[in-house]
């Protein structure tokens, strides 16, 4: 005769047993990942030496507060603009052709060096000195270069701008695969 019953005597685990179980679990985990643990410990030591640990600890300890302050601080037009400019600059950097730019940059450097050398020169340059200078091959090459640069700068590039133009006015969206080349 087995009457219906509902009460259940649970297996009670004493605190000591529970502790023993947990300890065993942790021990096993430690042994299983011995190499990584040792390496992490080394890294932690380095961090401790440099005082990074206490910084990180404080940061996480006050996580919500710090996050809130950070975010609210960051939510200003200046910060947004900084981030925005950073992202934009990264984009612009991507469009530079460094191969072509290198010789020009070298020349600019040389020019700057020369100017640095003679920055205190009191010498004055008259119109005839200027004309005479054109005969100097170095100056003549510079002038030609600059004229070409001015010509290039005057070219129509609006359709390449991605930050000011509507997609349908952008050159890249007029190609079938949305790529410039």
């Amino acid at each position: 005769m087995a009457k219906a019953i509902r009460s259940v005597q649970r297996i009670e685990i004493t605190e000591e047993q529970k502790r023993q179980q947990d300890l065993e679990e942790v021990q096993n985990a430690l042994i299983d990942s011995k190499d990584s643990i040792l390496e992490v410990l080394q890294t932690l030591n380095h961090m401790q030496e440099r005082g990074v640990l206490s910084l990180v600890s404080a940061l996480f300890g006050q996580g919500d507060k710090v996050m809130d302050i950070l975010v609210k601080k960051a939510d200003t037009p200046e910060t947004a603009n900084t981030l925005k400019n950073l992202l934009l600059m990264v984009g612009v950097l991507g469009t530079l052709n460094v191969q072509q730019l290198e010789p020009i940059l070298l020349k600019v450097n040389a020019g700057i060096a020369r100017v640095a050398d003679e920055k205190d020169s009191q010498e004055k340059t008259g119109i005839f000195d200027l004309m005479r200078s054109l005969r100097d091959p170095e100056i003549n090459r510079s002038i030609t270069l600059m004229l070409n640069f001015l010509k290039g700068m005057g070219q129509e590039t609006e359709s390449l701008e991605r930050t000011t133009q509507l997609p349908e006015n952008q050159l890249q969206h007029r190609t079938p695969n949305h790529q410039l080349k």
Binding site: V8, I11, N81, P167, Q172, R174
Partner: protein
């Protein structure tokens, strides 16, 4: 090919198929066209305008434009691009892109992905907040109008796929939004929580609450901090490109901690499959997939949201052993040793026939196979059964008699494409919710006709073209009369009968007595109604008949099922797509539990145990001798216990002490058992009588396969590790068997399937590889893996390939003395499952439907002075229940409806008798009368005001995009571009 045509795409001539939209064609040709509102399950919604292309020089929406021969399609011209961009701009006006801190940033956001694909960097119309609050009222999902792009997918899904007709977009407001019913909070509407809207939403507007604040790394941040973060994110935007790159990284990181596992639902027999998203043991959401064969993107409340029971604190985590007046938790070792000792002792003392085994239709095919292998091969007893005995065995018998396979004739797709669907004794939209959506959709959009025969005016009855209420238990009479009338009128399908059916003349003779007049008297249906039914079947090219417990749970359940199949044969509605017999299986694996041999007379695949050839096959494979005589079914087991013949029982996953009929009788049997082992995930009512309770693991914690009502076999994968010390049932059965010396050595369920497939012809070609992921097979499966979506196209399953018309008689339902004047109908509710072990664990479901109630008619209420909340006692000759009343016109006269969702004082089976179907012993649950007395007149309604039944649906077709187009502020982007209205555009 007759449909093949040629079109020109961007100047290149390409072959194409007719009957396709341009969007479908282009997508299939790998030409990417942006689209946001289009969804393959919903079709063209036409709200987003992003899929505009140029066809023969005209800018059109490619989602809704059909392909025509010779079309010249341009997808790249500046006009096309400009139109698409304008459309997208309108979307971004309604949706703020803060992807990195958005819970929907999981790679599937259509807004995000379209912005990325179109390389949109800026919007000309800036985002503008809508003047509405988030709606968080519903327990399972929330709506954020501010993020809603008004694509209308949710509305389309609610109106035309799920067909609950709750959602609309109010296009008349200055800022349109989605509204529920007549604009009430979500939780107060007619929403049935099916989850379609949150599944199809292309962005984060409609989202499962499990996801909110959980899916992302940064989304759990407190609201006050989140807003400034969104502002920074927006302020920094140098164009969306870089923002999307960062959010893509964050989204990729989420894959590390969110696990997505395919599983198969364990509620009804429809067999919905879906991905479960989890983070540790937390369920974030259930996401059904287009490739899910039975349900695509559909779910019901239980499948979408009803899984919290898996993590319930009430789960059994250790074996329990009875000791005096309580159970004691024990280790597996001790429990198994005890079971092995007792089983051996009882078997030695009383013989193998003194032991009974009951498997579960909740468990996998592999587990059902092992249970019967344990019973037959290890113990030596055919006393093995499963709960299909309680529901669908009569249907199986009816089909085996007439057409040869005990399963649905076709797939859910066949039901959807049928011209006429007849539903008899099936409360489809509550018992098989997703399947019912296919009928509701076909009826609403495609002119399908439906006839419903039921006592109760449930949703399907409400929507039916013809709803009939025959007297209880008289279905066989009107079915036979309609069949006879069809034959008499010369409407029978003579060619079909001549070619494919045996026994016609004898069958016609057997119908002699079923005249219209006789049927009119016995069923209460008018002659005109009967003729109307016959005419509808005659005029429809294809007819499906669906039936369930309202047919089978009668003393003549097998015969009525047979009559249904007879009618289908006479009218040629078998063996072709869109037609046939559909006994809707009630549990996820009712079909599979029987397919795999958990039945006293059948080995796996319905081969008989008393066939020596069959037995020999298994004896060889298992290396053991098998008992010859069919064993006891579960109904007979209860009697055998009372007779002192059955001494021990091993029962898994079945709350027999609640779901069997006449449970007082069953409980007293349990008390007489010498040794009783129950295996379950909870300490059920049945387990309370056990000597040993074994903790099992639910579907989320194991692998295996289920077979749904379409005979479709599908794999489930493991979502979680088993909780505590619980184990998958197949491992437990194997452990028990091995203690008894079986020496089984299965390491994975696939090995069990391999063994079963070798032995059972209908499963011959089933392998786990062929079922990988969302792949499925519908049995019979040939050794080469060819399956059978539609049965009998190559002949019926008899030696001569012909079907048999099987004459049947009417068994008059049980008669009760006059004092028992109330007919107690019973069955399911949408949101709870059976005794409620699983669904009451869901806080969300319980908040809206906290307890069972008795539906009483307004007439009865008036006569007896009943109100909502009146507590009554119903007493039958077998027992009594106490339950609170709910007055509704779903029931009429002296018929009441008691849902089966209670395991206490209102458990329906306290009333039911031990009478059963004469052919299968399936209890006659539906033949019960009771008398009613009022215990307390005043009370609070047992059904809260916040329940979908109190909602106010607003039917319409789709999202009504015409209303959007008629708005003053709407211009078709293609028109704008064509007009060259660049200036106008810039100004806005």
């Amino acid at each position: 090919m007759p449909n093949s045509i040629h079109v020109t795409v961007n100047g290149v001539e390409t072959p194409a198929q007719l009957d396709q939209t341009i969007l479908q064609f282009l997508t299939e040709s790998s030409i990417e066209i942006p689209h946001v509102c289009y969804h393959p399950a919903l079709g063209a919604i036409e709200t987003c305008d992003t899929c505009i292309v140029s066809v023969n020089g005209e800018l059109v929406r490619s989602c809704s434009t059909k392909l025509k021969p010779g079309d010249r399609i341009d997808t790249i011209s500046p006009d096309v691009k400009q139109s698409q961009t304008m459309a997208m701009d309108k979307i971004l006006y309604n949706h703020e892109l803060y992807c990195t801190v958005c819970d929907y940033n999981n790679g599937g956001c259509e807004v995000h992905n379209t912005v990325k694909a179109m390389k949109i960097n800026h919007q000309s119309i800036p985002f503008d907040h809508k003047p509405y609050e988030e709606d968080n009222s519903h327990p399972f999902y929330r709506y954020d109008p501010d993020q809603c792009i008004l694509c209308g997918r949710c509305v389309e899904a609610c109106q035309d796929l799920q067909v609950t007709e709750t959602l609309r977009i109010d296009w008349d407001r200055e800022r349109p939004r989605v509204i529920w019913d007549d604009d009430v909070p979500i939780n107060e509407s007619s929403c049935v929580s099916c989850g379609h809207c949150s599944t199809v939403c292309p962005c984060n507007a409609m989202m499962e609450k499990g996801m909110v604040g959980e899916a992302g790394f940064l989304t759990g941040i407190a609201k006050q901090t989140l807003r400034p973060m969104i502002e920074i994110t927006k302020g920094v935007e140098t164009g969306y490109g870089s923002i999307l790159a960062i959010s893509d990284m964050e989204s990729a990181m989420r894959d590390e901690r969110i696990k997505k596992t395919k599983t198969v639902c364990t509620y009804c027999g429809v067999g919905c499959s879906f991905d479960v998203w989890t983070k540790d043991r937390e369920i974030l959401k259930v996401e059904p997939q287009m490739k899910a064969p039975a349900n695509n993107i559909s779910t019901c409340v239980k499948g979408k949201f009803g899984w919290s029971f898996v993590n319930s604190e009430e789960r059994l985590t250790k074996p329990l052993i009875r000791e005096g007046d309580s159970f004691r938790e024990a280790e597996w070792e001790e429990a198994l040793a005890l079971i092995a000792g007792k089983f051996t002792e009882i078997k030695d003392k009383y013989g193998p026939q003194s032991m009974g085994f009951i498997t579960s239709s909740k468990c996998t095919n592999e587990e059902s196979y092992l249970m019967q292998k344990l019973a037959r091969g290890v113990i030596g007893s055919n006393n093995v059964d499963n709960c299909s005995r309680y529901c669908q065995t009569p249907a199986t018998v009816g089909l085996l008699r007439t057409v040869g396979h005990g399963g649905d004739s076709g797939s859910i797709k066949d039901i959807a494409m049928s011209e006429l669907v007849i539903m008899i004794g099936t409360n489809t939209s509550e018992s098989h919710p997703v399947l019912s959506t296919r009928i509701k959709r076909a009826q609403k959009l495609h002119g399908q006709k439906t006839i419903v025969a039921d006592l109760r005016k449930h949703e399907m009855a409400d929507r039916a073209d013809l709803f009939i209420r025959p007297k209880p238990g008289s279905d066989i009479v009107w079915l036979s009369a309609v069949t006879k009338y069809i034959i008499d009128m010369g409407w029978a399908d003579e060619d079909f009968i001549h070619e494919k059916v045996n026994g016609y003349d004898q069958f016609v003779a057997s119908l002699q007595g079923f005249t219209l007049g006789y049927a009119e008297d016995q069923t209460g249906l008018s002659r005109e109604t009967l003729i109307q039914i016959a005419t509808a079947i005659y005029e429809a090219k294809t007819t499906c008949i669906l039936w369930a417990m309202g047919v089978t749970q009668h003393i003549g359940g097998s015969d009525t099922s047979t009559a249904i199949s007879n009618l289908l044969l006479v009218t040629g509605n078998h063996a072709k797509p869109g037609a046939g017999a559909y006994p809707l299986r009630g549990h996820n694996n009712v079909q599979g539990a029987s397919d795999f041999g958990s039945a006293p007379a059948n080995m796996p695949g319905y081969e008989r145990v008393d066939d020596p050839v069959v037995r020999q096959k298994y004896e060889q494979a298992w290396g053991t001798s098998l008992p010859e005589q069919p064993g006891l079914n579960n109904h007979e087991m209860v009697e055998a216990i009372h007779d002192g013949k059955l001494k021990a029982m091993y029962l898994k996953g079945e709350d027999m002490g609640i779901v069997d009929s006449n449970i007082n009788h069953v409980h007293s049997a349990f008390e007489k058992l010498d040794f009783f082992v129950v295996q379950d995930i909870f300490l059920t009512r049945t387990a309370e009588f056990a000597d040993v309770v074994l903790p099992a693991a639910p579907s989320f914690e194991k692998e295996g396969t289920f077979t749904n009502t379409e005979r479709r076999i599908q794999r489930l994968y493991q979502v979680f590790e088993p909780l505590g010390d619980s184990k998958p049932d197949w491992q437990i059965i194997m452990a028990v068997a091995n203690r008894l010396g079986a020496g089984w050595n299965y390491e994975h369920p696939s090995e069990i399937m391999d063994e079963a497939a070798k032995l059972s012809p209908i499963y011959a070609g089933v392998t786990y590889e062929r079922l990988e992921g969302y792949k499925s097979l519908q049995w019979p499966v040939a050794p080469d893996g060819t399956d059978s979506p539609v049965l009998y196209t190559e002949g019926f399953n008899f030696p001569d390939g012909k079907a048999n018309l099987f004459p049947v008689k009417w068994s008059i339902p049980l008669q009760f003395p006059e004092e028992y004047d109330i007919h107690v109908n019973n069955g399911r509710l949408l949101e709870h499952f059976h005794e409620g072990n699983m669904t009451y664990k869901s806080k969300g479901i319980s908040s809206k439907t906290p307890k069972v109630f008795l539906e009483v008619s307004p007439e009865l209420a008036a006569e007896r002075g009943l109100r909502d909340g009146t507590l009554v006692r119903l007493t039958s000759p077998f027992g009594s229940v106490k339950v609170e009343c709910l007055i509704t016109d779903r029931v009429q006269g002296k018929e009441v409806y008691l849902p089966m969702n209670d395991s206490g004082d209102a458990a329906i089976n306290l009333l039911t008798s031990s009478e059963a179907d004469k052919d299968t012993d399936t209890p006659a649950y539906k033949e019960i009368n009771a008398k009613m007395e009022i215990l307390r007149q005043e009370g609070v309604s047992p059904l809260p005001r916040i329940n979908h039944r109190n909602g106010n649906p607003q039917p319409q077709i789709g999202v009504q995009v015409q209303k959007k187009w008629a708005r003053k502020d709407y211009v078709f982007p293609g028109d704008l571009v064509k007009k060259g209205a660049e200036a106008l555009w810039q100004k806005r």
